[in-house]
């Protein structure tokens, strides 16, 4: 019905125009706003993990500083370069989608996928080392402090509640006597590390899936990718994945201090 109304008024409607939209501008803007709304949910999704990280790092600064040395800064830096470059190639893919150049789109999306795989492979090496070092949290976790590492001085327990009784006496209720030891706090660091980089890697995998699908659609000249919007939306997603890593890298790998 809607199609008939549009045609009666002499419009050629773009074959990509969906039935609920009036024109392509409305559709394009809707898709971009929709994608951004989804990315806002992703910001809050990862953001909560960043909050957990911040709280625990604030509470255990010395532990985090010492333990993070077990992460490989070089591999982390290389991965950062890999993702930044993949963001560039994805932006180029979007450019060529807007210029309607199918070949170049395929090339740039293909390169982006290769970079994504590189990222995962390097991450795989990092995780494998963690596995061998018994640093994967869980029943096999074991953190052994190296020789020469200065002992962490624990503050003596302080009373949490100081109450004034009706007879005028002050009574102190001591802190709970369960004190996690260094190994447990190290495990906390690695728990956060694996959760956050793991969730990020999961998003990278999904990104590969999306880009792979676009690649094959371009290869088989599927009509949906005559329209630049699918590639642009994938690009927005991929840039977001890059931004998460931009924050993950310094927080985990570059904790400052001697």
């Amino acid at each position: 019905m809607s199609v008939e109304v549009a045609e009666e008024h002499g419009h050629h409607h773009d074959p990509a125009l969906q039935h609920q939209f009036q024109d392509m501008d409305q559709q394009n803007e809707s898709y971009v706003v929709g994608m951004w709304t989804f990315l806002v949910t992703e910001i809050m999704f990862f953001g909560a993990l960043f909050l957990a990280y911040t709280v625990y790092r604030r509470e255990n600064p010395a532990v985090f500083l010492e333990v993070h040395h077990h992460l490989d800064v070089f591999k982390g830096a290389v991965n950062t370069m890999v993702l930044l470059t993949s963001s560039l190639t994805m932006a180029m893919a979007v450019y060529h989608a807007q210029m309607k150049n199918r070949q170049k789109q395929m090339i740039y999306i293909g390169i982006t996928i290769l970079f994504a795989f590189t990222f995962l492979i390097i991450k795989g090496f990092e995780w494998e080392k963690k596995f061998h070092d018994h640093h994967v949290p869980g029943p096999h976790f074991e953190y052994v402090r190296g020789e020469g590492e200065a002992p962490i001085v624990k503050a003596p327990p302080t009373p949490v509640v100081s109450m004034r009784m009706s007879n005028g006496q002050n009574v102190n209720f001591p802190k709970d006597t369960i004190e996690p030891d260094f190994s447990n706090k190290a495990q906390l660091f690695f728990s956060l590390y694996f959760c956050m980089t793991g969730l990020h890697a999961f998003h990278v995998i999904i990104g590969i899936g999306v880009m792979g699908t676009l690649f094959f659609m371009l290869m088989f000249k599927h009509p949906n990718v005559d329209y630049y919007m699918p590639v642009e939306l994938a690009g927005l997603y991929w840039h977001f994945v890059d931004i998460v890593w931009i924050f993950l890298f310094p927080l985990f790998y570059l904790i400052p201090g001697s």
Binding site: M1, S2, V3, E4, V5, P15, A16, L17, Q18, H19, Q20, F21, Q22, Q26, E29, S30, V33, G34, T37, F38, V40, T41, E42, M44, F45, F46, G47, A48, L49, L51, A52, V55, Y56, E59, N60, P137, G138, P139, V160, D176, I178, P180, N184, K185, Q187, L188, S191, L192, C195, N224
Partner: protein, 583 residues
């Protein structure tokens, strides 16, 4: 483009019907389960949500029956824990959060703004499937032995020590959360981009403002609880220590992250209901809403301020006192926009021509009960009082007043208001009024005693209690039985009306709004031609005296003839006047 379930153009209605509507163009299962029509999806949601409400209600009945005696006659403590958990999980995540947005919102929003569908129809269908899958997982967990952590899943009990089906339930809730997010994305883009020509923001019905605000809250809050619950699952399965104090974790962090969503969640539950109340009060007072912009902006204010008060659930957890003070002050402030709405609704009715239909009775009930609920919330916002009242039945009564007396009453009012539009049939008005009255009485009898027994010290989530509380519990349980009847009657007459109810005209209430300018039920594409809006929202003032009189005195449906005429005039050829009264 692949259109999964659009009818070919010009398809005639099935034999026996006079016109093609979204309901009758096809009866096949495939065209229902693969529909991308927002109206059909709304109906699918209506069915799923009603089932969840029923199951959550059974859990409530089990609780109330158990609480009639002080020594636990029917169930062990473990089973009781599972019952209140089931009640909370099903009611909060699977009924209250999606109810109005997914059913009435899905159905009405495109109609109200003059659009053919939502912005992303296939995402809409996906959101229903996600809801159903999440719901089935939660139900499976219940059947397979239940969960006993309470709907709040506090750690480390939920993440380390509980031996029940926590993970399965949490995954179900996680998936349902994405259903909610999908709905939120859809509504935001739809309201921004799909309004009919001439429909500026300040000509929008207030229901749209409410739904927009709700959607923003959904987008910003749900992901936080999603990741929090996912972390609990990960902690359970992989024995990490993120919230376990023995391993260096902080259980209070869980509560911060959990309540960061779960407080705004209550605004997700109440805002749509408030939007419905605006619609109903305007229609049945025959007056435009007093203070339109105040109500519109207060919806946004509630959405924003609602994110700043989560700590009031944590006053006695060991949170820093200074933080508690800040949250207490902010919790007082967040009550103000809600109060503004109540004043404006009251002012709307003043010197209006009030028509006591069933939706109006629900709306009036809402105003009274929500006010009580909101005011008791202020007691709880007060830090000193909350130390004593927290974790007692006072809290339980407070949130049931706002959730049941508020949100659910609004939902029922909206269902009655839009039932003729959705189904093309009128429900029996007499029975509806009776049911509204019964549920009002039942509700008060159930929850007023709970304020008293809570104040007297009855803790929540306990089923053993001192004998002196029994009288209050018995009163409450009696009330619950009455309330159940009050809810049961509409189920019967709504189903009855589908086959035997009188056919409704396009506009049986004589209401102003784009959704009333199309047929009941609407055709597949909502409007035969997209209307151009040149009038203000709630333009009841321009209705002539005789029209108003005719609507008041006639049975619902009879006054429709006048309005149908006017609506057809507006549709057919007078875009400049496009005025609902046709003059």
């Amino acid at each position: 483009m692949s259109a999964t379930a659009l009818p070919p153009a010009g398809l005639p209605a099935s034999a026996g019907e006079t016109k093609s509507t979204y309901l009758n163009w096809s009866y096949s299962v495939k065209d229902w389960l693969l529909t991308i029509d927002h109206k059909r999806i709304a109906v699918l949601y209506l069915i799923s949500i009603s089932i969840m409400f029923l199951l959550g209600g059974f859990a409530a009945m089990a609780i109330r029956v158990e609480l009639t005696s002080p020594h636990g006659q029917l169930m062990t403590s473990e089973v009781y824990n599972k019952m209140f958990t089931m009640h909370g999980v099903l009611m909060v995540f699977f009924f209250l959060v999606p109810s109005i947005p997914a059913t009435l919102g899905n159905f009405v929003i495109p109609l109200m703004i003059g659009a053919k569908d939502l912005a992303f129809p296939r995402l809409n269908l996906l959101s229903w499937y996600l809801y159903t899958i999440g719901g089935l997982m939660a139900l499976a967990a219940m059947i397979m032995g239940g969960v006993d952590t309470g709907w709040t899943f506090y750690t480390p009990y939920s993440s380390v020590y509980s031996n029940t089906n926590v993970s399965l339930t949490l995954v179900g809730i996680f998936i349902a959360g994405f259903s909610s997010i999908a709905t939120g994305i859809n509504f935001i883009v739809t309201v921004h981009k799909m309004r009919a020509p001439g429909m500026t923001w300040f000509r929008l019905p207030l229901f749209i403002w409410a739904m927009y605000s709700t959607s923003v809250v959904i987008i910003l809050g749900t992901p936080v609880v999603a990741i929090t619950l996912a972390l609990v699952v990960v902690e359970r399965l992989l024995h990490l220590g993120i919230f376990n104090p023995a391993l260096g974790g902080d259980p209070i962090l869980f509560q911060h992250m959990f309540w960061f969503y779960s407080h705004p969640a209550v605004y997700i539950m109440i805002l749509p209901s408030m939007g419905i109340i605006s619609e109903i009060i305007a229609c049945f007072s025959r007056k435009r809403v007093f203070g339109y912009s105040f109500i519109a902006f207060s919806s946004l204010a509630i959405g924003v301020f609602g994110f700043l008060v989560w700590g009031h659930h944590m006053f006695v957890t060991g949170q820093s006192m200074y933080t508690s003070m800040v949250f207490s002050a902010l919790s007082f402030i967040v009550a103000v926009p809600s109060a503004i709405k109540v004043f404006n609704w009251t002012a709307t009715m003043y010197k209006g021509q009030v028509w006591f239909t069933a939706p109006m009775i629900y709306a009036l009930g809402f105003i009274g009960l929500f006010t009580v609920g909101g005011l008791t919330g202020l007691y709880l916002a007060s830090l000193a009082m909350d130390v004593h009242l927290n974790m007692t039945y006072f809290v339980v009564a407070h949130f049931h007043f706002v959730m049941v007396g508020g949100a659910t009453l609004g939902y029922l009012g909206g269902l009655h208001f839009w039932w003729p539009k959705i189904t093309g049939r009128m429900y029996p008005e007499g029975w509806a009024k009776l049911a509204a009255a019964i549920s009002f009485v039942g509700f008060n009898l159930t929850f007023l005693p709970q304020f008293i027994v809570g104040y007297l010290g009855m803790p929540r989530r306990y089923h053993y209690y001192p004998a002196e509380y029994q009288i209050w519990h018995v009163l409450s349980s009696a009330g619950a039985s009455v309330l159940a009847i009050g809810y049961g009657i509409p189920v019967i007459y709504f189903l009855w009306s589908l086959k035997y109810g009188p056919k409704a005209g396009d506009n049986p209430w004589g209401a102003v709004g784009l959704e009333w300018m199309t047929s009941s039920p609407p055709p597949m594409e909502n409007f035969h031609e997209i209307p151009v809006v040149t009038w203000e929202a709630y333009d009841y003032d321009s209705m002539t005296e005789s029209e108003a009189q005719a609507d008041r005195e006639s049975m619902p449906g009879a006054g429709a003839a006048v309005r149908q005429e006017a609506a057809r005039d507006a549709e057919e050829g007078h875009p400049e006047t496009g005025h609902p009264a046709g003059d």
